[in-house]
Every structure is written in structure tokens, then in C-alpha cells.
Amino acid sequence: MNLVLHLLLLTLLPPLMGGVIGRVRALVAGRRGPPLLQPYYELVKLAQKSAVISPTTSWVFLAGPVVGLTTALVAGLMLPLGAASAPLSFTGDLVAFAYLLGLGRFFTSAAALDTGSAFEGMGAAREATYSALIEPALLLGMMALVLSTGSTSLAALLGGGAPSPLSVAGAPLLLVGVSLFLVLLAENSRVPFDDPATHLELTMVHEVMVLDHSGPLLGLIQYGAWVKLTLFAAILVRLLLPLGWGPAWADWALLPVGVVVVAAGIGAIESSMARTRLLLVPRMLVSACLLSAFGLLLLAR
């Protein structure tokens, strides 16, 4: 039962985040906006199309979207999403979590380079630069969690009846929370790091890498991106909300609500901030690393 609930949440919730973000952006801009379920419709639409595949590409081009989605889903099995522990849990799985996402990113970049297009190469170069800075921020944040709870498994760190880590060590983990939110924005190419809504190839980071993918392949990429965003949002929710104290059904219900709140927060940020200059993005990522490192130092002192 718990496994079924976990899988349902993991597979069905992600596109809703896109719907919520789009809706909030529209409301702030004074527009009515697309329906909440629009991302679902789009996935269905893309699945029904045929894909155009350039003759210059190889199997890597196909592997990019597939590996990207698979790694995100497998990583999702390691996170405790509701009242129960994670379906897939072992000692040190948080490292596996981080590098599963890294693997997905590697294959997305490789698929972009595979097309041989100048745009996509540019996007891959940017993505590689950023991920080199995102990873330390993520891992330092995870280490702070490890120090506060004494476990190296995500299931033990973040849930399954354990009290919220925030109640164990509040201030340092708040720093980590902010850092993880920055990582969430950067990793999922949101404003101010990237502009997911732009049509201007030269300014894109993530979007430019998938310009040549179409039809079901594009659908896989978009779905994978929503899954990844949901994973990060779920980590934040588990970190900040006192899950595991009430009845089990409350925990299962609280997570989607928390994820929607995070999505609304992202929408609000995107509506009120301009995108930063591309050259300044690494500085913001370094500050995310520093926040995580300070959190870690405070816990280790």
C-alpha cells in the first residue's frame, strides 16, 4: 500500500508543479493563465507526436532523455515521500541520490553535444559549469543533515516517523534549507538562474540543450525535469515541515500540499525577479555552497 502510494505520488504529482508555477506567474502578471493541468495535457500531446531525429546523431541522442527520466525516478525511490520509509534505502544512499541526478545531467549534456549544434554545445558547456558548483552545495547540505541525525540514508534523514531534522538543529539547518532552495532553482533552471519561458536560444541554459528533441523524446525530458523539481521540493518539505507526528494519512497529504506551496513560491520568485547576468550565476551558486558549508560548520563545532 505504501509502495503504491509512493509510486503514485512520484509519477503523478510532478507535472502539477509546472501547472502551479505557470498559474502563479500568470496571476501576478494580470493574466488568466493556462489551466492547472496544462503540463499533463502537454505530455499527452507530445506522447502522441512522432519524433524528428537528425541523421547526424547517434544512440546518445536517444539515451539522453531516457537516462534523464530513469535516474530521476530511481532517485525518487530513495526519498521518503510520505509516512512510510523510502522503498529503496541503504546506507549512504544520499551519495547515490546526488550522483544519479549527476548521471542524468551527464547524459542530457552528452545528448546535446551529440547533435553537433553550436547552440547545444553552448548550453552543455553552461550546464557543466553550473553543475560543478551545484554538486558541492548539495553534498555539503546533505553532510550537514548527516551530522545532525547521525545517519547516511535519506530515509532515516528525512522521514519515516523520525522527527524533522529542523527540530534537532534549527539554525544551521535553516541555512542548509536556503542553500537547497537555491540548488533547487539552479538545478531546475528557474529564474533567476535561467529563464524556462524564453524563446531566445542564446540566453538559455537547460532549454537550449534539448532544442533538437521533439515529440515523445521531448515529453520524456519535460517529465523528467518535473520529477527532478518535485524531488528537490520534497526534500525541502521534509526538511522544514514536522512530518511523522500526526496520523499516517496526514503525512501522505502534507507532502503534496507542501510541494504545491514550494511551487507557488517558485512562481512568486519568477514573477518578481529578473534573471541575473549569466556570468554572475556561478557567484550565486558559490554562495549556496557557502551557506551549506556554514551550516555544516555550525553543526560540527
Partner: protein
Amino acid sequence: MSDYLVLHNGEAAPQAQVPTLSYEALRDGLIAGVTAGCRVLALFATPMAGGHLLWLVLGCPTEGGFRLSRAAIAGDNYPSLTPAVPAVHLFERELAEQRGLVPEGHPWLKPVRFPGPRQGRGDRPQVGEMDFYRVGGDEVHEVAVGPVHAGIIEPGHFRFQCSGEQVLNLEISLGYAHRGVERSLVGGPTPRTLPVIETLAGDTTIAHTTAYALAIEGLTCTAAPPRAQAIRAVALELERLANHTGDLGALAEDVAFLPTASWCGRIRGDWLNLSAQICGSRFGRGLVLPGGVRFDLEPARAAAMGAKVAATFRDVQGATKLMWDTPGVMARFEETGHVSRERALEVGLVGPAARASGLSRDARVDFPWDLYRFEQLPLASCTRGDVFGRAWVRWLEVQRSAAFVQEQLAHPPEEGSLRRLPGPLPPDRVVVTVVEAWRGELCHVALTDSAGRFSTYKIADPSFHNWTGLSLALRGQQISDFPLCNKSFNLSYCGFDL
């Protein structure tokens, strides 16, 4: 005899009065004029027995008029003027392409519009077939954008030479929208002439038709009635308001700042609807006629429009205030796409782009026509030269144009006729007209033949001057800032390609 003939905006003279100089004297006159603060409005050639007649039109703000001179060029080449006066570089490339008149020693002699087989030039390269400037080295990579773009915009090709994220050089290749407008106007005016002029650049309809109307009025010595002049001026400023507002919104959109972007998009529509309230067309088609205008503004409609202008201006104020007050947006605008005053002067930028670099160039002030001779609009300028400067100048002009329109709608010249019918064109005349469109000043030069028909109709759209400015603005910038720089100039492709 003087080295040049002085004409005022919209004033016609017999062609024989324009002094014909030696090439050297023409070149010296050009250099002396530019040194004295004149700018190049047009350089073109007409055929003559055994060679070409090279016409030069300089605009001299200090004299409030234009200096016209010409020189006979024997054969099909002459020493290039560009090394001495870079502002004529594109005019010379155009001459080489249109007339086969080769400027020897031109540093950048490349095609401009690729008039291909359609114009009976089968031996010419196809559009975009060009030796692009290349930077060597393993670190350098080349990015090609266009001619098909990811938005609903016109076609143009951009070739970047990049080292990492830094742009070393940007080369722009246009001509995809070339229609042969200048050729089609020869032999006119015909009933087709006015619609062609109206669609030279769709967003600059009022400005181009006003310049054309002024040319016909100048040639036939028929001034438009005061009421018609006021309606034209209101329409021109509404065109400026709509486009500037749209540009401010587009700039916000390019830095992903949503509120201003979506509001300005909506408000631009309000300005366009005001134009439609005058003449039924959101882009002002069918309003301006040689000799006057087609539609009147009754007091009731003028009053309703006045109230709407005030309300719309308040909306722009609110939407843009949000942008000016957001540090993240300003951080993107400031120090991006800088063009120094010297560079702007050298390549002859016009319009808000020139004023943002500290040049005082505004045809409404320098060469006033119609109503602008009596109603002064203050010149908006800024010394920043970056994207912020170009945005800020637009905002200043929005404020001033809105006040001007409100003033004109509240106190229109008294009712009377709307049009004086121009007679037939006199033979062998020349007329030069300049109008400050929202992108910058545009220049029309009309020459009539012995039968009173256009023998040459030369058009210089502001985009013709400013595309080079965009290339310069990108030097040493981040390639990811290109869309922002591009939007801050917002140049026309079809206005350039003609």
C-alpha cells in the same frame, strides 16, 4: 559659387541649382561638413552619360537645413569615402551593389541586400552567401543565428565569433526581406505609391508616409492645412508611444521580469487602439495623404482620446516604475551593450540609440517640419550608452510625447479643410525630407525627371544607420546578452532591406 546648396526640410529646388563638383571637392565638403557637426543623410548615385552622378545630402543642425552637392564620377569606380568618414560605409556598399559603382579602398565591401535574380541580376550571390569575418584559433567558436528565428520576427542572419561566452565579433547579414521598393517607386507617383510607402516598415507607417507627403508638398508648393498638420503630429507621437512602450516591455521580458513585460504588452495595444480611433487602422494606414490627412478629429472624439491618453500614460508609468525600482533589472541593463559617444558619432547612429550615447540628434528639434516648427518637444538624451540608456531615453520620450499629444488634443487648431490637393509635380526638381520616426530620423530624397515623374526615390530608414551600432554594442559582451542588446535597438529588417 558655393560648394553646396542649402535646402530646408521639405523645400524643393531645381536640380540645376545643386552644384556639381569634382570628386575631390565633394570629399572635402563631406569631411568639412562632418567635422562641423553635420551628419550624412543620404549618399546615392544617378546614371549619366559615361558614368554616374554622386549625390551627397548632409544634415546640418547648426544651419537647420541640408547641404546638397554632387559630383560626376567617370567610369565605374572611385576612391572610397569610408576611410575618411566611416558613417558612409553602408551607403557606399549600397552604391556598389545597386549601381556597380565600386568604392576603391572600402574596408568592408560586402553585399547589403543581395538583389538577386528577381531583379535581373542572375550573376549575383544568393541571399546570405557571403564571406563572413572569421576569428582564428582553437579557442574560438562560431555561432550562427537565423535567418529563421525562434520568435515571430523578421528574417536576418547573425554570425558570432565567440571565445567562450564572450563575443569577439558579430556580423549581421540582411537582405532576406528585400522587395525592390526604390526601383518600384521610379516613374511615380502612381496610385500604388502611397500603399508602398505605408508598408516600407509596418511599425513606422506614419513617419514614412509623412516624409513622403512632405516631399510631394514641397515639390508642388502646397502646405498641409494647420489642422491636418496637428493630426499628423498626434499620429506620429502615438506611433512613438506605442512602440516605445512595447520596447520597454520587451526589454523587461528579455530579463525575465514578468510584470512589466505583460503590462507593457497590453498597454502597447491601448496606444495602437488610439491610432485606430483616429483613422480605423491600429498602425495608422490610410491617415496621412500628400497635402493633408484623410480623417478629422471632432471635438468629442478628441476629448475622449485625451482622457484615454492620460489613463494609458498612467498605466505605462506604473508598469515601468516597477522595472526602474527593481535592482535585478537595473543590474542587467547597466553596463550592457555599451556604445561610446565617439563610436556613435563615427558610424552615424540616429534616434534613441544615438541620444542614449549622448548625441543631440532629433529631427524634430534639428529640422522641424509641419507643427514641430511651432510646438517644441524637448530633446531626451542620456550619456550612458548602454541598454539602460536606450531604455531610459525611451521612457523620457514616452513622457514628453504623451504630454504633447494631450496638449494637441486639448487645443487643436481650429476646424477647416483637411487637405490641399497637390498639383502635378514640376520637372527636374530635388526635394529632401526628414522625419523623426520612433527609431530615429528617416530621410526621403526625391528627384523628378523632365516629365515630372520620380527619376530617383531614395529612402534611408533609421535601421539603415543603426544595425552597425548593434554590432559594435556586442563587442566584448556576453553572447547571452545579445537578445537584450538587440531589443534595446529594436531595428527593422524590412525597413533596412526595402
